[in-house]
Amino acid sequence: MSKTLKFLGAAGATLFAALPAFAQEAAEKAADGAAAVAVAVADGPIKAPTVEQMAGMVDKGDTTWMLISSALVLLMSIPALALFYGGLVRTKNMLSLLMQVFMIVSVAALVWVTYGYSLAFTSGNAFIGGFSKIFLQGVNATTYAATFSNNVYIPEYAFVVFQMTFACITPALIVGAFAERIKFTPLMIFTVLWLTFAYFPIAHMVWYWAGPDFLVDAPTDMGLLWGWGALDFAGGTVVHINAGIAGLVGCLIVGKRIGHGKEATPPHSMTMTMIGASLLWVGWFGFNAGSNLEANGLAALAFINTFVATAAAAVAWCLIEQFHHGKPSLLGAVTGAVAGLVAITPASGFAAPMTSILLGFAASGLCYVFVAYVKNKLGYDDTLDVFGVHGIGGIVGAIATGVVADPALGGQGWIDYTVFPAIPGEYDMAGQVMTQVWAVGTTVLWTAVVSAILFYGLKFITGLRPAEDAEREGLDITEHGERAYNY
């Protein structure tokens, strides 16, 4: 891709919803129900509005959307992810999975408000933010966060909490890779360190920028990958590739489960796994469509893309199983669905429904290959296929985003925020795909190195695995002194 600085992002539908009208009638920009904007309309949008002016640029529909989206993303972690993972392990480790996810969420939330938000979403350098909002100082009920549209703001707390849910779920995704054989305390320490050295930097690199009303005057205040023009609507790199690679590194360093490959370890409750997958699907609408930060046509687009890509991926996996083994399985269907959800994540606000379906099909097939063949060939024990589904699905989705975002394919293209108000940029598919590849590569490298250092460090300092007998008895009893079931 050309080295020229490009500013891309989720298209500002509010502004471009009625492009033909745009030039002619400024009044139309009063669109989308925001009286707020009406204030601005008189003399056009306001560059770099003050906080007082921002207060008039908030729409309660957006605020509601961000809050409920945050609740949906929390739902994805607890109970959804916990159940999806928990159902797949043996009874004796069920409770440990539930506990790990529940406590990772709790710990991550505290880390996020303490310094995570500041490191990820304040100005610093291209790699990491600063400490200006440590302990959320300066954030209050009357500060606002920018969206992708000029002169549209949301309460900053809503932005903080929405992003918080992402910081909560990402480390929780990792645990699936070494499920059934990890000690609890080192895992908690890992969570804090990994957030600090892998998640916050990558979130900053991918998502931090000065905002559409400020970027023109601060053309270098942004994260590295954002500056490259990498497209990642809802966190394909930050969440899924990040977690997928960390999981792979983790399962390699932690080592295989006792009996791996010899004993079959059938899911102890496909019912729980199905509940988890279903709630993941439901919650993912908050994840993807919520990432639009506004409740407009683009949010609806991200929503429908999330729906159909997932459906396509579930169908694809079932068809593969039907041809390959003669029977479609529920585990296959839900695995496919999650692969589809992962793959559509970076593309959800850029693709069209029909290209989303194709992306869902493709991601499902590629993840199948990794989960069913590559893993067994290479012999690593990624218990719940965190790498195979989140890593591979994330990479497929991130790169494919460069293709499906092309307006020629019905995509949303990119928005040039270097002009004020922002306008759509010209699309170069090949260049964009290269940018995506670079972004993926950077993420993979960063998280792999950080994760490896952390896992090795903890292995030597605290140890990562329980004693062999404890592993055989199950982590529920040995780590937590409880059983999941006492029927």
Binding site: A264, L331, T335, A372, D385
Partner: protein
């Protein structure tokens, strides 16, 4: 008295129960168990990877009966439980030294 333990396929429980009732057996006790035998278990497939499971769900039936009824009970179970496929299960026969009905205190044959 005899005590018969039979390990059968789960979906054969109803036919076996009917066969035993027809015979006049007044009671039985049923446990869900897992069997390991020649039937090495379905090949189970998880996310495309195949595993040979060796634990197959079975049902264990226990029937106490008078000695002279034992042969009939064994035969009835065998006929009702047979599918001809591997994993149909086994029937074991034991000497029963004593029996007692808790409710009434009846002992031995009258207790069954």
């Amino acid at each position: 008295m005899k005590y018969i333990i039979a390990i059968i396929k789960p979906h054969k429980l109803d036919p076996v129960r009917e066969a035993l009732t027809a015979l006049g057996v007044s009671g039985m006790t049923v446990t869900e168990v897992k069997g390991f035998g020649r039937q090495k278990g379905q090949t189970e497939i998880y996310r495309g990877a195949e595993y040979a499971t060796n634990m197959v769900p079975k049902v264990k039936i226990e029937v106490a009966c008078a000695s002279d009824q034992a042969t009939a009970v064994v035969e009835a179970i065998q006929q009702a439980a047979e599918t001809g496929a591997i994993g149909d299960g086994k029937i074991f026969e034991f000497e029963l030294a004593g029996a007692l009905r808790i409710r009434t205190g009846d002992t031995n044959e009258t207790a069954l």
